[in-house]
């Protein structure tokens, strides 16, 4: 009896695949698993660029999210260089074609010894005070100026001034309050520093700060008087040649001095846009700023004209001269402008190589150095 049943069932065996088919029909949809798109196709957004520096044909531009762009052909082709930080880099300066520094948010201080290909972090220790223990510097650094491959100065928020003589050891420099030459607090925003040689340097910042030194930073003077501009104008950047200097600030204010910074005149430029970046070389002076404004003087600041440039709305934050009349301007959304005639005319530079795959600067990409430990996790 059972055997007969089994045989009957076996007769039906061919219908089992039918059932399986039916189930397969039911389960086929959506069986295709999703595969994420090729990661190499993903692009880095065009990071805002805040600083630029050139030495010969080597040009570096730095900015948001630890971005470093490097060019070796005078700014025509650019490539992304990995850096061990996600913090925004605000300025870069080259001592020569191999060594230089970049500074940025949160006390970030990077050094390169191979012309910007690789970077390592430097730590600066703030000495203990009566209020605090010794701790690493974490205030934003806004500008750095290289005197030589081994000596440089940097400035930042809270009146921070740093100095190095060997390139990797940096010290905090404290200036007596009276040196500032005004009644404002010493813990002020210092926006730019410029040294033309070991001894002569300038620092500008908020409250109309213009500090000068002619003895390598042993003493500083801040006394100044302005004609035609308010005393506490917020100054963004400065460019100088000898005793002459030009500084730009908010609201389109431009002040110029010819006597090493004691007295300043206001230059009337036809703009109310903030002027954020300045550069000077061989009589050509550049001022760049908000909303795409650019001004150039070819007579050391006596007269100003608007150079020929693409009409853009990006803010420009920094300008730098290279060799042979090359000049660069960088700014919002990764814009890079390039000139070959000392700034009389400008063209938008071509783009660079595609950025690294994972989009986040890979930690530990640094080569040699002192005090560099790769992060377990990119810090903010």
């Amino acid at each position: 009896m059972a055997l007969a049943r089994v045989r009957n069932v076996l007769r039906v065996w061919w219908l089992l695949p039918a059932l399986g088919l039916a189930l397969a029909a039911a389960t086929t949809q959506g069986a295709l698993e999703f595969e994420p798109a090729d990661p190499a196709a993903w692009q880095l957004p065009r990071s805002d660029l805040y600083g630029v520096a050139a030495a010969g044909d080597l040009v570096l531009a730095v900015g948001y999210w630890g971005t470093v762009l490097r060019s070796v052909d005078g700014g025509q082709i650019w490539s992304h260089q990995p850096t061990p930080t996600d913090r925004t880099l605000y300025a870069v300066s080259l001592g020569d074609e191999s060594r230089g520094w970049a500074v940025g948010a949160g006390g970030t201080l990077l050094q390169t010894t191979d012309g910007g290909v690789s970077w390592h972090k430097l730590e600066v220790e703030l000495p203990a005070t009566e209020f605090d223990d010794a701790r690493p510097l974490d205030t934003p650094l806004f500008d750095v100026s290289a005197i030589s491959p081994y000596e440089a100065w940097a400035v930042g928020d809270f009146g921070t001034i740093l100095h190095t003589r060997d390139g990797s050891q940096w010290e905090v420099v404290v200036i007596p309050p009276e040196a500032f030459g005004d009644e404002n607090i010493p813990d002020r925003i210092l926006n730019a520093v410029h040294f033309r040689d070991r001894d002569h340097g300038w620092i500008v910042g908020e409250f109309g700060t213009t500090l000068r030194t002619s003895d390598g930073g042993a003493t500083w003077t801040g006394e100044r008087s302005f004609t035609g501009a308010v005393e506490d104008v917020y100054l963004m950047d400065l460019a100088a040649a000898g005793d002459q200097a030009v500084a730009g600030g908010t609201g389109g204010v431009v002040i110029e001095t010819a006597d090493g910074g004691l007295t300043w005149d206001s230059a009337r430029l036809p703009t109310t846009a903030g002027l954020f970046g300045a550069a000077w070389q061989n009589g050509s002076v550049l001022l760049v700023g908000d909303r795409g404004v650019m001004f150039r003087s070819d007579d050391g600041g006596a007269t100003w004209k608007t150079p020929k440039a693409p009409r853009l709305f990006n803010w420009f934050r920094a300008a730098a001269f290279g060799s042979d009349g090359q000049a660069y301007v960088v700014g919002q959304n990764g814009i890079i402008l390039r000139s070959v005639d000392s700034g009389a005319s400008w063209a938008q530079s071509a783009g660079g190589e595609p950025p690294p795959l994972d989009g986040v600067s890979s930690p530990g990409a640094s080569s040699s150095p002192p005090a560099a430990e790769p992060e377990a996790r990119p810090e903010h």
């Binding site: 009957n8 007769r11 039906v12 061919w14 219908l15 089992l16 039918a18 059932l19 088919l21 039916a22 189930l23 397969a24 029909a25 039911a26 389960t27 086929t28 949809q29 959506g30 069986a31 295709l32 999703f34 994420p36 798109a37 196709a41 993903w42 692009q43 880095l44 957004p45 805002d48 805040y50 999210w65 996600d86 925004t88 605000y90 948010a105 934003p140 806004f142 925003i189 926006n191 908020e206 917020y234 963004m236 600030g249 908010t250 903030g274 954020f276 908000d290 909303r291 709305f313 803010w315 934050r317 700014g331 919002q332 989009g359 986040v360 377990a376 996790r377 903010h380």
Partner: protein, 1067 residues
């Protein structure tokens, strides 16, 4: 036919008078209810409520906006938008759409809306924000827009052109006074209350005019000196409406504003976007659609701009627009069906019977919808059509059978009883399987699907009464038929003869099977690739060249993203968002997501913060960054709010307590693939970047092969059990997984559950207050309340009240704690539990932090620090919908196959019949899926019920054929003869029923304005044809080759078929 069927039929016909009265009364009742049927659409009905994304969405949509959004682009035809005429139109559109019934006023956005602002710091250091176009310019644009309207009204009303501005002002003033009088007149008020739509609408129009004139008078009064009126154009001293300088600086401001450039203004400056979010409840979409189109026409009248419209409300509006067309097409289908049937039967019986059954069923069905409080929307009209087609099918069977019996018995009453008894079993079976097949759609958590399932099942079951019972009664009362030879075209006869030969030949049958196998296997590979979700920009409901889809393409090409993917950042306490590390986290997340080339941009509270920080620091771009301390962050944001006219300006970005924030990422389209990528990318980031000191998540992924299968079973099986995943960050920054305690203890429901009201789904503070005021101040009371009374409360209706009670009811139950974890630290205690309150309820995460109350985490995660909850926004909602469709699709197919199988097994007690039938169904389904792939139709919420229904539509054919084969075997024919006879007789009926149906619906493809209807008609036709071919060719071939048990010798126990006597059985 068995004793039972016979006795029932006899009984039924004997008492025909009573029966007809009963049926008549029921029909009258349903008819009365049907008259009160409401046609409307509800956005929330489309959302799969149980999906985690929708849980997040519903938790936050009142704060961060609904996904029911109209997206409109105003494109300048000549030049850019920086032209005062174009700006005027942008202003006008934004203003008017904000005034529509059903709009969420906080969610209207364009360059002229007050929330879009630029900040600056004045000389005293005070942060001031200015509307980006400029308040002065906006006032002028407003004045101009309403002046145009007022002048046009005046001219239409017969007034002469205005000589000067002053004349116009006077006229405005006069008219205002006039309206005040008219509107305060009690007659007007009475008219409005009278619910006569037209009268109410005209009063409403007058009210709107009065309000417009109020503002106009104000603005005209504020006009600076030197303005003149020329026709309807206001001109200022410079010769333009707006001082040139104001317009000149506008492009700069727009290009610098990340919130605007590329998103609200196109990258090439020629188009401006206006988006408006709508409420999710019941809205009069027809009215909304009409008003928006009126607005569009008004703005386009001078040819300076073209207005493009897309978005869910517009789409629904189009379906309402075409609703009449849909109904006409359906009626036409029915008409064609009727004509074809008339040709077939050559007797008015063949027309009246099916038609009467269809109509009565329709009345019952519509009445039922009305009783249940459901809505009828245009897109679901296809379902009743299919059910009606089934009804017609059954009718045809019955009339055929009746003819035969009449011919045999020559007594009308006896013939009716006999034919009724014979078909009682297979007919009822077929109806029940139909109804069940529709009912299983209801497993989905999409409310609309549940409604369709319920009313569809009812409608299908009602056919049992209308066709099976009513038809028989009617015939008893109608005169007897004289001529009942039906139409059999010779071509079809020859074709069927040939088919029979092929199906019964041993060799040819095998060849057929091989061909069938090839078709099935290749269909499998095509079916495999059908996509869930939309596969091209725009909507598949309308044709590619429809206005809606063209507009969608324009918008997606001009703007880098009109479709948003929203991720919510949650923190553990108030002001948690204001911490710098949280802000920087959000910044990092945004940057990561923006790397996808499909992303156009993103926006969150961080962008505002950075912009304000920069403004506050003299505009220095270096300060476009997250400040270093909580206080600075809080301070800057407060200043921003205080400096703008509407302090709620940051509401779309973070909630009032600053505990949760929204990140919106914009994409160019919302295709299924794009959504999947967006989700994958976000999940990748979240996976690689755990945040906060303590991170708790419910991990419910089903992995592995078993997991995939379970996932495909969707709602049929209880929700997956979740794992409690706790990670704690060490000092060195790495995360350690923590041990959790697996519990299982039962806990009683909370005693005082007043605080728990807010944890109920879709609950908000306002709704909770409504409940409290009405006396329902704790969950127990809500659960005990009377459903009717709850539904009467403001903001509630039957469906919401029911859901509320259900949820409250859950809270009364004991719950099981499946896993728990706790930690003591200096700050306090953290406790976390997984609770489950019922077998089919999902696991819930509950967290108690530092002595606060237990909190239910809708997003199934919690962190001491920021945590990311996916996903909201249009793409989040669509993603959930796609997931649901994917799960439900399989579930419903499996369920319908299983139902068919089980029902057949029970009634015929034959495994082989069941398997054969399911196999036939399965291959037809596969073929139809392959068709979907080639026709680039994807699965979505709308195709789901049609597909599920369609699968069951053709099952009868094979059933009747096999039934006939058995019948003939019992009569003594051998297998070959039986199959041959079955194909030529029953096959004829099958052929005809099938082709009439196809004939009835195939023409939709050519005349429907809705691509959806066209696609569905093709799909159903393919399904029907596949089932037909399966029934008359493949199933017989199988029978020939494999000679299954049911086709064996007479006397097999278990089969209850007709008796040995009887003529042609055309089933």
């Amino acid at each position: 036919m068995d004793e039972l069927s016979l006795r029932f039929s006899r009984f039924f016909i004997r008492h025909r008078r009573i029966n007809i009265i009963l049926i008549g009364a029921a029909t009258a009742y349903f008819g009365y209810e049907a008259l009160q049927l409401q046609v409307f659409s509800q956005f929330i009905d489309l959302l799969p409520r149980n999906h985690p994304y929708i849980q997040v969405y519903e938790n936050y949509n009142r704060q961060f906006g609904s996904a029911n959004i109209v997206t409109a682009a105003i494109v300048a035809q000549d030049g850019s938008i920086y032209d005062e005429d174009v700006l005027e139109k942008i202003y006008g559109f934004t203003d008017q759409i904000d005034k529509l019934d059903g709009v969420d006023h906080g969610q209207v956005s364009s360059i002229t809306s007050i929330g879009i602002r630029n900040q600056e710091v004045d000389r005293e250091g005070v942060l001031r924000s200015q509307q980006i176009v400029g308040e002065e310019a906006l006032a002028l644009l407003e004045a101009q827009f309403f002046t145009r309207r007022a002048v046009r009204r005046a001219l239409d009303g017969g007034a002469p052109a205005f000589a000067s501005l002053r004349d116009f002002e006077a006229a405005v003033s006069d008219r205002k006074a006039e309206l005040v009088v008219t509107l305060s007149d009690s007659a007007a008020l009475r008219l409005e209350k009278m619910e006569d739509r037209e009268q109410a609408a005209s009063i409403q129009a007058l009210r709107e005019e009065a309000a417009e004139l109020e503002f106009l008078a104000l603005r005209l009064g504020e006009l600076p000196d030197g303005y003149t009126l020329d026709g309807d154009q206001l001109t200022g001293p410079e010769g333009t409406l707006v001082p040139k300088a104001k317009i000149k600086s506008l492009p700069d401001r727009i290009h610098q504003n990340k919130q605007v450039y590329g998103r609200l203004v196109s990258l090439d400056d020629t188009a401006a976007l206006v988006t408006a979010g709508f409420l999710e409840g019941r809205l009069d979409y027809e009215q909304i659609f009409n008003r928006i189109y009126e607005l569009k026409t008004e703005l386009e009248s001078d040819g300076k701009v073209v207005v493009h419209l897309t978005g869910q409300p517009i789409l629904i509006g189009w379906t309402f627009f075409y609703a009449v067309e849909i109904i006409l097409i359906l009626l036409l289908s029915l008409g064609i069906l009727v004509v074809l049937l008339g040709i077939y039967f050559r007797h008015w019986y063949g027309i009246v019977m099916p038609l009467s059954g269809a109509i009565v069923s329709a009345i019952w069905g519509l009445g039922f919808i009305s009783i249940m409080g459901y809505q009828l929307e245009p897109l679901v009209l296809v379902i009743p059509m299919l059910i009606t087609a089934r009804a017609v099918s059954h009718s045809v069977q019955f009339v055929e059978r009746f003819y035969e019996e009449y011919e045999r018995l020559e007594n009308k009453e006896e013939a009716v009883i006999s034919s009724m008894a014979e078909l009682l079993l297979p007919g009822t079976l077929a109806i029940v399987t139909d109804a069940f097949g529709i009912l299983v759609i209801g497993v989905s958590s999409i409310a609309l699907m549940k409604k369709v399932a319920i009313f569809g099942a009812f409608w299908a079951l009602s056919i049992a009464v209308t066709e099976m019972l009513l038809n028989r009664l009617l015939i008893v009362y109608f005169p007897a038929p004289k001529n009942f030879k039906h139409y059999t075209p010779p071509a079809v006869k020859t074709f069927l003869k040939a088919t029979a030969r092929v199906a019964t030949g041993e060799r040819s049958a095998r060849i057929i099977l091989v061909i069938w196998l090839v078709v099935v296997v290749s269909s499998f590979f095509a079916a495999y690739q059908v996509e869930v979700g939309e596969s091209r920009p725009g909507t598949p409901i309308l044709w590619d060249d429809s206005e809606f889809n063209q507009s969608a393409r324009v918008i997606s090409s001009k703007f880098f993203g009109a479709d948003d993917f929203m991720v919510i950042v949650e923190t553990e306490q108030a002001v948690g968002i204001h911490r710098p590390e949280v802000m920087r986290e959000i910044e990092a997340f945004q940057r990561y997501m923006e790397q996808d080339p499909k992303v156009g941009g993103s926006i969150s509270i961080v962008d505002f913060l950075k912009a304000i920080n920069r403004t506050f620091h003299n505009g220095d771009p270096r300060w476009f960054r997250v400040p270093a301390t909580d206080q600075e962050i809080g301070g800057l944001l407060y200043l921003y709010e205080a400096g703008s006219p509407d302090p709620r300006i940051l509401n779309p970005y973070r909630d009032q307590e600053a505990r949760n924030a929204a990140v919106r990422i914009f994409y160019g389209d919302h295709q299924g693939e794009t959504i999947r990528q967006a989700v994958a990318r976000a999940e990748e980031y979240i996976e690689k970047n755990p945040t906060g000191n303590v991170s708790i998540r419910l991990a419910t992924d089903r992995k592995g092969f078993v997991g995939e299968v379970l996932k495909r079973l969707g709602p049929l099986i209880p929700p997956a059990s979740a794992e409690l995943e706790v990670q704690v960050r060490d000092e060195d920054g790495t995360y350690q997984r923590q041990e959790v305690v697996l519990s299982g203890r039962r806990e009683p429901p909370p005693e005082d559950s007043a605080r728990w009201i807010l944890t109920l789904p879709r609950m908000t503070k306002e709704l909770a207050n409504v409940l409290k005021d009405a006396g329902y101040d704790n969950v127990q009371k809500i659960a005990d309340a009377d459903l009717e009374e709850l539904a009467e409360l403001e903001g509630y209706d039957l469906v919401t009240a029911y859901a509320l009670q259900n949820a409250a009811e859950l809270d009364r139950r004991h719950y099981t704690v499946r896993a728990e974890w706790s930690r003591e630290s200096d700050g306090g205690e953290i406790l976390a539990e997984i609770r489950r309150r019922g077998l089919y309820e999902a696991d819930e995460l509950w967290v108690k932090y530092h002595g606060g109350a237990w909190e239910r985490r809708k997003s199934s995660q919690w962190a001491e620090g920021p945590s990311y909850a996916l996903a909201s926004g249009l793409m989040g909602v669509l993603g959930a919908s796609n997931d649901e469709v994917e799960g439900s699709n399989n579930a419903t197919l499996i369920a319908s196959f299983a139902t068919v199988f089980v029902v057949i097994l029970i009634s015929y007690r034959s495994l082989s019949i069941g398997l054969l039938l399911v196999m036939s169904l399965g291959s037809a389904a596969l073929v139809s899926l392959a068709f979907m792939f080639f026709a680039r139709i994807g699965f979505d919420v709308n195709t789901l019920p049609v597909q599920a229904l369609g699968v069951g539509v053709g099952v009868d054919y094979a059933l009747y054929i096999m039934d006939r084969v058995v019948h003939e075997r019992k009569r003594g024919h051998n297998l070959e003869e039986s199959v041959s006879i079955a194909i030529q007789t029953t096959g004829m009926a099958v052929f005809f029923t099938g082709s009439t149906l196809v004939g009835g619906i195939i023409f939709w493809y050519f005349i429907s304005s809705l691509r959806f209807a066209a696609d569905m008609s093709l799909l159903l036709s393919i399904l029907l044809l596949a089932n037909m071919v399966g029934a008359i060719l493949v199933v017989p071939a199988f029978t020939t080759v494999f000679k299954p048990r049911f086709a064996q010798a007479v006397g097999d126990e278990g089969y209850k078929g007709s008796d040995g006597a009887g003529g042609d059985d055309s089933g």
